[in-house]
């Protein structure tokens, strides 16, 4: 049964390939971004990973495709960077509140807070930062993150907790 399935269902089929793209391209993009930052053009990495999948579509069965994609994207990016510090940009709050005039003191404090936050995030290890942001920003469940990172749910929970703990200590200056 399994062998017939993998024979008829392979990633070379357009509908299967397209579905894999719809299902995983955004997660792949976000994963690369949170891990390596914008400098390494996550969009390109998504493209490279899917190109590789397409080239190997006969060898990779659809149920293995997801881990194939994530490891290709991960490896191509690792080849490029030599563990530089990853600083993620934040969306400035004043941009969103258009024209209303806010207390400059308040604005400055907010700015300082976000700068501290940014620095603290960059000090986290990649694995903690990725788990924390996928969970808190992208709203991914522990189970989904565990699948993406190839670790257990317990480990995901632990990473999110230690990330939060370190962020607080760092930001509060302890």
């Amino acid at each position: 049964m399994a062998s017939t399935k993998s024979f008829s269902d392979n990633c070379c089929k357009k509908n299967i390939f397209d579905k894999l793209y719809n299902d995983h391209s955004k997660d792949l993009h976000d994963f690369i971004y949170y891990k390596f930052g914008a400098e390494h053009n996550p969009k390109d990495k998504v493209q490279v990973a899917f190109m590789k999948l397409w080239e190997n579509c006969k060898k990779v069965s659809p149920d293995k495709a997801k881990s194939f994609l994530f490891s290709v994207a991960n490896n191509t990016t690792l080849n490029v960077i030599k563990h530089k510090k990853v600083v993620l940009k934040y969306e400035s709050k004043s941009d969103r509140s258009k024209s209303d005039i806010q207390d400059p003191q308040f604005l400055m404090e907010e700015q300082e807070y976000m700068d501290k936050y940014q620095l603290a995030l960059s000090k986290l290890t990649e694995e903690k930062r990725v788990a924390f942001l996928l969970n808190r920003v992208e709203g991914k469940k522990h189970k989904e993150i565990a699948e993406i990172l190839g670790i257990s749910r317990k480990a995901v929970e632990k990473r999110i907790y230690t990330a939060l703990d370190q962020l607080r200590k760092d930001i509060d200056g302890i």
Partner: protein
């Protein structure tokens, strides 16, 4: 703080009592603030549709080179036919001439046949010929684009101002009616303008100002437009407004103001009102938007 309590709290599993006592700790507010502010670090929007489009395009061109025998056979037949046509009619367009164009406020990611990548900025277009690509990597550019070139034979970007030549590197070319700039982000590039050649190294920025070539240092790892910004130094308001119109589909009514005033500053590509404020406030100009028209007047 108890690890288990926080884990439970993150999963909304605390009992009412536990929650009450956790809320009364002095750390509680810090935790909440951290979680609340995490959203500002959100990854940039991923446009799956346009990325899929360029992926499909890359796959298509890859398939072509993979099916070499068929392709060569077709190519040789085509060559005979094309030569035949050309003898009788010079104007037969080449079937493999590719043009990619972006509209105002639109950007596009294009993969060339050799896997080099072109990030095309708004209101710009590139042309290249897939048929002759193997012999000559040549792209014509109108507007602005960032190139990430795969190593290989000479790669040439041709513009109205001159040519930019490289072997394999990352660089940005801006060729607008009002400006010509080449920024070398990685590797080195050669720029040819009117019989003169200029070699740019990493972090060099070449500008054409009133027919004079100026080379400055610019250490940014991305061109400004990739950060959704235009940064202008000492430009006339006229040029600034032309740059503006690449990102916002509007027309300016400027008969009441002096557009030769110079402006130094930046504006965002993501919100028109903020962008207009960034330009007009420092110059003491006020604006009024009516449909697609923006009226500029002195305050």
């Amino acid at each position: 703080m108890e690890e288990e309590i926080i884990k439970k709290w993150l999963n909304n599993e605390l009992s009412e009592e536990e929650l009450k006592s956790f809320e009364s700790t002095k750390e509680y507010k810090s935790y909440v603030k951290i979680l609340d502010n995490a959203k500002y670090f959100k990854a940039p929007e991923f446009d799956a549709d346009s990325s899929k489009e360029s992926l499909d395009f890359a796959i298509k061109s890859r398939t072509k080179s993979n099916n070499k025998i068929v392709y060569q056979l077709i190519a040789s037949i085509a060559a005979v036919l094309i030569i035949g046509f050309l003898i009788f009619d010079y104007t037969v367009p080449n079937q493999l001439e590719n043009t990619k164009t972006t509209e105002i406020a639109q950007t596009h990611n294009i993969t060339l046949p050799d896997q080099s990548i072109v990030d095309l900025n708004a209101n710009s277009s590139i042309d290249y010929n897939e048929a002759t690509w193997e012999e000559e990597r040549l792209v014509s550019l109108e507007g602005e684009a960032t190139f990430n070139v795969e190593k290989g034979k000479k790669f040439t970007v041709s513009t109205n101002y001159g040519t930019v030549e490289v072997l394999g590197t990352i660089f940005n070319v801006k060729s607008r009616d009002y400006a010509f700039q080449v920024q070398c982000i990685e590797g080195s590039v050669k720029v040819g303008i009117k019989n003169e050649n200029y070699i740019l190294k990493q972090h060099d920025l070449l500008k054409l100002e009133k027919d004079k070539v100026i080379i400055e240092s610019d250490r940014s790892s991305l061109p400004d437009w990739k950060n959704n910004l235009s940064i202008v130094r000492n430009e006339t308001l006229n040029n600034v407004l032309m740059e503006f119109q690449n990102y916002y589909d509007v027309e300016f009514e400027t008969s009441n103001i002096d557009t030769n005033k110079t402006f130094t500053g930046s504006f965002t590509h993501q919100n028109m009102e903020i962008a207009l404020n960034s330009i007009t406030l420092p110059l003491g100009i006020s604006y009024k938007i009516e449909g697609k028209k923006v009226f500029l007047t002195h305050k």
